[in-house]
């Protein structure tokens, strides 16, 4: 609209030509200062391509937390924080380096985090965005007759129904559930790990540094 208006002005009133040039240059300067200002003031959110996932959104302005210039994200980027979550990864490198399963990597590059998790592409709320029916890349047979009890189950139901986890399967696997089945609602005795603190002294020492506090030096 603005461009059209200035074009019209140009054909009818030559005096406006100058003015519109100023406008164009002004806009360019504004955009430039806006972008350089964004960089200088660390307001990097203007460069975000889309909605960041629920956890990462808290530090989304720190681009270089995950991105090194324009290089692709590596697994190390993710494991820097998520090592604990991946400690017992049921679909980890150990499994897929085994020749028995290596072939399945052709269906889905399971050894690369970003093959499934697409950050800044909102899908729905669970961790870093992923497609809900990814299991079907390899396990389609399960819901299509290979396993009678699972026949006809929804393609995205594996984990949305709360039955299976891709990574940490330790607390939800069939084996784990079988082992722990039919126990009383309330176990006879709670077994929360006990936290003990050992004291080195019998009586507290005299506080040091009192003078520094009162003077408030820093």
């Amino acid at each position: 609209m603005g461009k059209m208006g200035s074009n019209l002005g140009r054909s009818f009133k030559p005096a406006k030509l100058l003015q519109s040039k100023f406008v164009i240059i002004g806009i360019m300067i504004l955009v430039l200062t806006w972008l350089s200002g964004a960089i200088a003031l660390d307001k990097r959110s203007v460069f975000l391509p889309g909605e960041t996932s629920e956890g990462h959104v808290l530090f989304e302005v720190s681009c270089n937390s995950c991105h090194e210039s324009f290089k692709p994200i590596t697994n190390e980027t993710c494991t820097r924080c998520h090592e604990a979550e991946l400690a017992t990864d049921a679909h980890g490198a150990k499994k897929f380096r085994d020749p028995r399963w290596a072939e399945l990597r052709e269906n889905l590059d399971v050894m690369t985090c970003t093959a499934c998790h697409e950050e800044h592409v909102h899908m729905f709320g669970r961790g870093v965005h992923l497609k809900p029916d990814l299991c079907m890349a390899c396990h389609e047979g399960v819901i299509q007759g290979d396993l009678a009890s699972h026949n006809g189950f929804a393609a995205d139901g594996c984990w949305t129904a709360g039955c299976h986890n891709f990574h940490d399967h330790s607390g939800i696997s069939t084996g784990f559930l079988r082992q722990n089945l039919d126990k009383p609602d309330m176990l006879p005795k709670p077994v929360l790990p006990k936290l003990t603190v050992t004291a080195e002294l019998d009586t507290p020492p005299e506080p040091d540094l009192s003078k520094e506090f009162l003077e408030g030096k820093s």
């Binding site: 004291a199 020492p205 009162l214």
Partner: protein, 278 residues
């Protein structure tokens, strides 16, 4: 008439230029202030405040562990006085606690070199009065009394204002905690916010508190294995934790959900045992 309009227009353009100039000036002033913020000076401490702090410390586990003022308030190498120690000071002894804290939502901004998290940044309901609180070790812990009892519930409720958090006080879990009384730290039977969200973990004979507050949130079954199953059966826990309404009510009643998973596992068990019997 035409002439006058022309004059007016030219006047308008000058005013516009001035406006742009003022805008740019303000912008650069803002830029300069943001790049060089006015330093905040550490306030002095009065004698009575110091006495109170010393008293809290004298009765703390820190004092009996020979952790004195200088342990935190003095730089080890330069011997310079540190008025406000940061998480790095705590980290020198409580490595696991701080390391895990930095990986959760509460601490991740510090790890990534940003300003600490404040409730104002949260995407869940927070208390109006707490919006500016900066998330650091001493936001939840009284670093002088080092009594973890208030850090288990009261600290959380200073900021968190969602239904799940607010419903804790009326829950059975809260009742157990209240009955246990004010111990130096929550005992093995107490179920507090921290019990589930900052779970105790036994690693190589030592018990540590995992301060990654995001760790047991997703997938939900992680909390079942890490926490719930210390006291409840797997079935009771699953049927509770996958019921959104019951989670919101902070487990105010026994579960009514019956997850199909368990029927499937039971059917499988039956099939297996009948095969064995044959």
């Amino acid at each position: 008439m035409k002439k006058r309009a022309g004059v007016q227009r030219r006047g308008g353009a000058e005013v516009k230029k001035e406006k742009i100039f003022v805008c740019l000036l303000c912008f650069f002033l803002l830029l300069v202030f943001n790049l060089f913020p006015v330093p905040v000076l550490a306030g002095e401490v009065s004698q009575s405040e110091l006495d109170e702090i010393n008293n809290l410390w004298r009765n703390s586990a820190h004092a009996l562990a020979d952790v004195n003022c200088s342990s935190c308030h003095q730089n080890e190498e330069t011997k310079k006085f540190v008025a406000k120690p940061t998480h790095e000071s705590c980290q020198s002894c409580h490595e696991d606690s701080v390391d895990t804290f930095l990986l959760g939502k509460h601490g991740i901004r510090i790890l990534e070199g940003l300003s600490p998290l404040t409730p104002a940044m949260a995407h869940i309901p927070m208390k109006e009065s707490a919006m500016d609180k900066q998330m650091n070790c001493n936001t939840c812990h009284n670093v002088h009394s080092v009594n973890t009892y208030p850090a288990a519930v009261d600290s959380c409720l200073t900021c968190h204002n969602d239904t799940h958090s607010l419903n804790y006080q009326d829950s059975k879990h809260a009742q157990i905690f209240a009955d246990a009384g004010s111990l130096p730290r929550p005992n093995e039977e107490s179920v507090t916010c921290a019990t589930c969200h900052l779970p105790r973990q036994k690693i190589n004979q030592t018990t540590l508190v995992n301060h990654n507050n995001t760790y047991t949130l997703l997938p939900r079954d992680r909390m079942v294995k890490e926490v719930c199953m210390h006291c409840h059966s797997v079935e009771y826990a699953y049927n509770s934790i996958f019921d959104d309404e019951l989670v919101e009510a902070n487990f105010a009643r026994p579960p009514t959900l019956k997850l199909e998973t368990f029927e499937l596992v039971r059917a499988l068990e039956k099939k297996r045992s009948s095969k064995v019997n044959k």
